[in-house]
């Protein structure tokens, strides 16, 4: 079984370019940084409130790290094929039908990524004029992650489409999984 806790997941290696490995590692590290930072922020929030000198802006820092963490994780999970799926039906398919379905699935993700980039950028620009109280942080600081995530998802989806087309989407892990499912 693949080490799911690894910085760079070796599962479905044939769908990955080596050049993007540092990006996956960086995203995983950022996931850890985000959760560590908002843990620290909530801790400081409780401590400062308990000693009677609350730092009100900490809540904004917390939600910023939280939201960024969600979207960074979403991008990392795209490269690692780690998202929640309703079914893993494609893993039991082979040959041309498998390629067709995998390509269609990734084209759907690709369209979503393009819309996230386009609409997310427009939202982020609009949010330059809105501020969070009491820290007066522009809302863009929060919402800018949506188009950034869109770009990362776009890159990873193109990577999987190109490599899947060249080397096939099927990996040795899928054969193990489908054998288990049949047993």
């Amino acid at each position: 079984m693949a080490d799911f806790r690894a910085l760079i997941l070796q599962r479905h290696r044939q769908l990955k370019w080596k050049a993007f490995d540092p990006l996956e590692a960086a995203l995983m590290i950022l996931c850890g940084v985000c959760i560590a930072m908002f843990t620290l922020a909530v801790l400081l929030d409780v401590v400062t409130r308990t000693i009677g000198a609350p730092w009100l802006w900490l809540q904004q820092v917390t939600t910023a790290f939280f939201a960024w963490g969600v979207f960074i994780g979403m991008a990392a999970a795209t490269r690692r094929n780690d998202h929640f799926y309703l079914t893993e039906i494609t893993k039991r398919m082979t040959g041309g039908s498998r390629t067709a379905i995998e390509v269609i699935n990734r084209l759907i993700v690709l369209v979503v990524a393009v819309l996230l980039i386009w609409c997310g950028t427009q939202n982020a620009i609009l949010d330059l004029g809105s501020y969070r109280m009491p820290s007066l942080i522009p809302l863009t600081v929060y919402t800018a992650i949506v188009p950034i995530m869109g770009v990362l998802i776009l890159l990873f989806t193109i990577e999987q489409l190109v490599n899947g087309w060249k080397h096939g989407f099927e990996g040795p892990e899928d054969r193990d999984d489908s054998r288990e499912a049949i047993l």
Binding site: F4, R5, L7, M28, L30, C31, G32, V33, C34, I35, A36, T39, V42, L43, D45, V46, Q59, T62, T63, F66, A67, G69, V70, F71, I72, G73, M74, A77, T78, D82, H83, F84, Y85, L86, T87, E88, I89, T90, I101, E102, I104, N105, I108, V109, V111, V112, L115, L116, C119, G120, Q122, N123, Y142, T143, V146, D177, E180, A181, I182, L183
Partner: protein, 445 residues
């Protein structure tokens, strides 16, 4: 296009994409954005809704309870609680099966994640169960069924999501989940005792052995006290309680009980950081989906159909909702399901004049059942993979255990006074009670 047609199209697209293998979060977003094209709403505002769906401080509790589960699972501290369970129930018929259930009850009080429970049990007790002759399919079925308690016995991630989106007291939901959670545990223990594999009969542990095991497990078992004590005393919100529990584990528990694991903490954080983004990415997509369902007047459409059959009878409305969520839970993960259907739940809660907390615990208990039913029984899928048995075989061995869940759901619907007894006495405001003027007593509806 009429709103009903757009609603149907959006749902069909989501299910079609999802079952073709598009990740849940993207299938939801794609369905919503396609539907948006047929409405007056701009794409831009729907993309904005993705962000607003997770921009909630209450949802912060989700990563904390996942982090707690991940830290407990990876640091190997949980085996102390397994040892305690063994000394308490290991001598009974089907001893290891009883241990699985009792440990899951303990672990449910620490972690809000069923999959963390499955991971711990599959790595430890499952191997011993195989040595003692338990068949793998039964082991996977029992571990998955027992792990569902993590979403009922507090803290519960489903309760956090339900409370945050339905504006229901999370502390109240935590307390209301205790009765159905314990009922499932007792039901599984009774099943294992009378109808499960015999296993190897062992001698009853001596009181000294029980005391030694209890002392060993004392530090991990402080966590439920921290979480519920903090919430009930008003010291912490559920989010803060989750943070305190996580800090307690990595600052006290791991250095004291498994110092070697300290170097692994950065990896635990990175993995937990990835893990929490998965349900919350689905939450982002589901909140946009739920918003669109409400915009297209989905709740009114469903309410008309349900009330045509049930009138305003709360019991029939609840049983119809249970039937609906048993089907929904078979196909969709519980967290997005809660958010997508929340507008409908709120509408029917009003129509039937049902206590929102009671409705919440009924819906959560029903969705918990979906964790072990095909085709999308997440806990059973993970358990069968870890234990090394086919999903189909594990499903067959789970079938008798479904009776426990049906019984618990029926009990939760029919006896609200018992289910809501704990929140009514410990958090009266959560069930709609209010303070009588000039006294400390509460007036309850």
């Amino acid at each position: 296009m009429s709103p009903t047609t757009v609603l149907l199209m959006m749902t069909v697209l989501f299910l079609a994409f999802g079952y073709m293998g598009v990740p849940v979060a993207f299938a939801l977003i794609a369905g919503v954005l396609a539907a948006t094209a047929f409405t007056q709403i701009s794409m831009q505002s729907m993309v904005g809704q993705l962000f607003h769906g997770i921009d909630s401080e209450t949802l912060l509790a989700v990563p904390f309870f996942l982090l707690v589960g991940e830290l407990m699972a990876s640091s190997d501290v949980a085996h102390r609680m397994i040892r305690l369970s063994q000394t308490l129930v290991g001598h009974l018929r089907g001893g290891l099966a009883q241990v699985v259930t009792l440990f899951s009850m303990f672990f449910a009080g620490i972690s809000g994640s069923s999959t963390a429970d499955v991971a711990v049990l599959s790595r430890t007790v499952a191997r011993e169960m195989e040595k003692e002759g338990y068949d793998r399919a039964f082991t996977a079925a029992l571990i998955a069924s027992a792990s569902t308690m993590a979403n009922l016995i507090p803290p519960s991630i489903m309760a956090v999501v339900y409370g945050a989106t339905g504006n229901v007291s999370i502390g109240g939901l935590f307390l209301a989940g205790v009765v159905p959670g314990v009922l499932i545990g007792i039901g599984l223990m009774i099943y294992s005792y009378f109808w499960g594999p015999v296993g190897v009969m062992k001698k009853r542990a001596t009181p000294t052995e029980v005391v030694i095991a209890a002392r060993g497990a004392a530090l991990p078992l402080v966590i439920p006290v921290i979480i519920m004590g903090g919430i009930l005393s008003g010291w912490f919100t559920p989010t803060e309680a989750g943070m305190v529990a996580a800090v307690y584990i990595f600052a006290v528990l791991i250095p004291l009980l498994n110092r070697k694991h300290v170097v692994e903490l950065p990896r635990d954080f990175m993995y937990a950081g990835l893990l929490y983004s998965l349900p919350l990415a689905a939450v982002a997509g589901a909140s946009a989906f739920g918003w669109m369902v409400a915009y297209l007047r989905g709740p009114d459409i469903v309410a008309v159909h349900i009330t045509a059959f049930a009138g305003n009878d709360p019991m029939i409305i609840m049983f119809l909702l249970v039937a609906m969520f048993v089907i929904v839970g078979d196909f969709i993960d519980a967290v997005p399901a809660i958010i997508i259907f929340m507008p409908i739940i709120i509408k029917l809660t009003e129509v039937g004049n049902i206590n929102p907390l009671h409705m919440g615990v009924v819906i959560i208990t029903t969705l918990v059942f979906g964790l072990i039913t095909p085709p999308y029984g997440l806990s059973l899928l993970v358990a069968s993979k870890y234990v090394g048995v086919g999903f189909g075989k594990a499903v067959l061995r789970s079938l008798p255990l479904y009776v426990v869940f049906f019984g618990t759901i029926a009990f939760t619907v029919m006896f609200p006074d018992i289910v809501l007894w704990l929140p009514k006495h410990l958090l009266p405001e959560s069930v709609g009670c209010f303070k009588a003027p000039g006294t400390a007593a509460y007036i309850c509806p």
